[in-house]
């Protein structure tokens, strides 16, 4: 066979990849996970929850109970009705009335966003996002090569709805991506009025909103607004997760969507990974059935609020007037804006090498074709040991004082 004999040049075996891979890069988060996880680095970089606060014993007991009682807990299986009902109850805590038929169980919020992207995005479609977007979102949509239409974010009230309307007057994007509570990375929560205006626009222009609410349950006492889902169950597709309120390794999250979308989303889910672990689903349901989640959430909020306040005090002490920031009502981040001219991305390598401190620079959150902020910094307060926060912030500030 001539083709076979012409294959002598095996030195450079070459597999042709999908087109989107030509501009794919490993995420900055993934790359940093390695260097920022050394024990001598004080890391404010990632958005990890605090592992010492996981309800480890209670979850271990739940797993044992489920494994002891039911051999089918390790089998493939349909989504757990009990867990879907628990999600309905949880949503009620957020001020949302929904039904189990609207709940799709996922392997976490990232999968939720990924499934919704596949449901809504034809290749080359446009989407509306803020100028700062969680890189995981960008990765989820990347294979569809969407056109980004970005809108600014007000540091106090959130996403700029007027800018959204300007886009909607010209075209019909596949969706609007918004994170109204503890926005990642800006840590803004959207004003109640902003939510109302955005959902009204979504309905008027028949463009769905993907509402990423993974930090919605991590509120620190300020009066909270209900998610946009409460305002419009037809055009708001809600993304929730147990990763931040119980533990990431459960790999369980949920969507709340109009019932008519559940069938297609179930097909998509099945095509992606068959099902969410039956064992995880049942163990989470068993844990929730003990009724200990509310007390756990209270502990979590107290601990994170303390860390937030420790970080804000340190930022005030060490940065003073050299940066601006706000106190976040939700989530796990503090966002710093520095004066023009300061490039946080250029500082990061020195921060890691000289001061052994890690953070994420603003440029990481820019989207293709959107504006690229260079003078912002995302600091996580949930994962760092409280005793190390002040010292870490002091070292970051010292870095800004010293020449490169």
């Amino acid at each position: 066979v001539s083709a076979l004999s012409s294959a002598a040049g095996r030195q450079d075996p070459s597999i042709a990849l999908a087109r989107w891979t030509t501009h794919a890069e490993p995420s900055a988060l993934q790359e940093l996970l390695a260097s920022a996880s050394h024990p001598d680095v004080t890391s404010f970089a990632l958005g990890l929850p605090a592992e010492e606060l996981f309800p480890r014993d209670a979850y271990a007991a739940a797993v044992q109970e489920v494994l002891r009682e039911d051999p089918r807990a390790l089998q493939y299986g349909p989504p757990s009705s009990a867990l879907r009902e628990h999600v309905v109850e949880l949503m009620r805590l957020r001020g949302v009335e929904c039904r189990a038929e609207q709940v799709l169980l996922t392997a976490g919020a990232q999968q939720g966003v990924s499934l919704l992207s596949r449901l809504l995005l034809s290749p080359g479609a446009s989407i509306i996002t803020e100028e700062h977007v969680y890189p995981g979102f960008q990765q989820a949509v990347q294979p569809f090569e969407p056109v980004y239409r970005t809108v600014p974010t007000d540091r106090q009230s959130g996403l700029d709805v007027t800018a959204v309307e300007h886009v909607l007057r010209r075209e019909r994007p596949a969706f609007i991506y918004a994170s109204p509570e503890g926005h990642n990375p800006l840590s803004v929560s959207m004003a109640r009025e902003t939510r109302a205006r955005l959902t009204a626009l979504a309905a008027a222009y028949q463009v769905p909103i993907i509402e990423d609410d993974v930090y919605g349950f991590l509120g620190y006492g300020e009066a909270a607004s209900p998610p946009m889902l409460a305002l419009d169950p037809d055009f708001v597709l809600y993304v929730g997760s147990f990763s931040k309120i119980l533990a990431p390794a459960l790999r369980v999250g949920w969507l709340v969507v109009p019932p008519r979308l559940l069938r297609l989303l179930s097909v998509l889910k099945e095509s992606t990974d068959i099902d969410t672990s039956t064992l995880s689903q049942r163990a989470v349901a068993a844990y929730l059935s003990t009724g200990s989640l509310p007390a756990h959430l209270t502990r979590l909020r107290h601990a994170y609020r303390d860390r937030r306040d420790t970080m804000l005090a340190a930022v005030a002490r060490h940065f003073g007037t050299r940066a601006s920031w706000r106190r976040p009502s939700h989530g796990v981040f503090v966002w710093l804006d520095f004066p023009d001219g300061l490039d946080t991305g250029a500082i990061l390598p020195r921060a890691l090498e000289r001061e052994r401190v890690a953070f994420l620079p603003s440029e990481i959150f820019s989207v293709p074709g959107g504006p690229r902020q260079r003078n912002g910094m995302r600091l996580n307060f949930s994962h760092c040991a409280p005793a190390r926060i002040d010292d870490g912030i002091a070292r970051l500030a010292r870095l800004l004082d010293t020449p490169a």
Copy 2:
């Protein structure tokens, strides 16, 4: 705002979906899961493993050990090095030498195939598959709307390599999908010579093979050939899973690929669901470290071989010369070919309603644009209680004797 006031017609809120959804349907497997799971139905329909054979106590012990010893077992985390090394050992049992740097941990084989599809498929690309393909594969590639080039399957030696070469002479498809051991649904294992010819073609035409080997460890004593990966690590992308050899609810599987593809696949994996459950990874590694997998596999193979033989005896007894079949050396299915004119899809509703027996008709495995066999039947022997197999087959056979 005029757009807002024109939104009076809220009676039919309409969200525009991605283009591929216009021809998406829930999988037949998913639909049947409901009606075939009634306790009074003898189901040969799905490919479920036997839950009574799961190493439930040993896995429970492994989970407890991991949760007791390490709070980070519930955290996000990089892929487990220990588990990747265990996979290298497992692959050695299949006759493959590989390195941990080639191993990507997944949430199961379905995710493995899904990730490889995203890596390799640009929208509208062509792919080579057999005429009978597992529906889960079709779901995984559907969003990319590939063009199927199908090749026949010899019931004895597997995929028709000459037909593959005819396609490759004309065009360069994104990949060839093949399942050389216990093919789903035909239950054929590819002859050693067929594997050698196919891998040589893949290299010659620089077209990768996705080798789906989920049943590779379920062999029943006949001399087994190594997977194609052993023949060409450059052009064979291997898909493995713990779902069939330990339990599906672990949601852990793996890919073995050229190291240069691991970076991109890791990005894709992260974009899909961040990571495979750290707890599952560590618990599976802890279980494997006890060294009890080989004995478990031996038990599993004995039990499934008995069920296979019970089913083959029942098929011979009740179908006699009215169907043709072969004894599968691997996997969990027996495939029946009936004479032309018999439509197994038309029989299924009666089988369920009148005889309370479930199977999958051949048409479910046809791909878009490919030929559509009507007179085939897939029977699963792994999940049915052995004592019910003969009666179930007898009832199926009786159905063929009676008019509709």
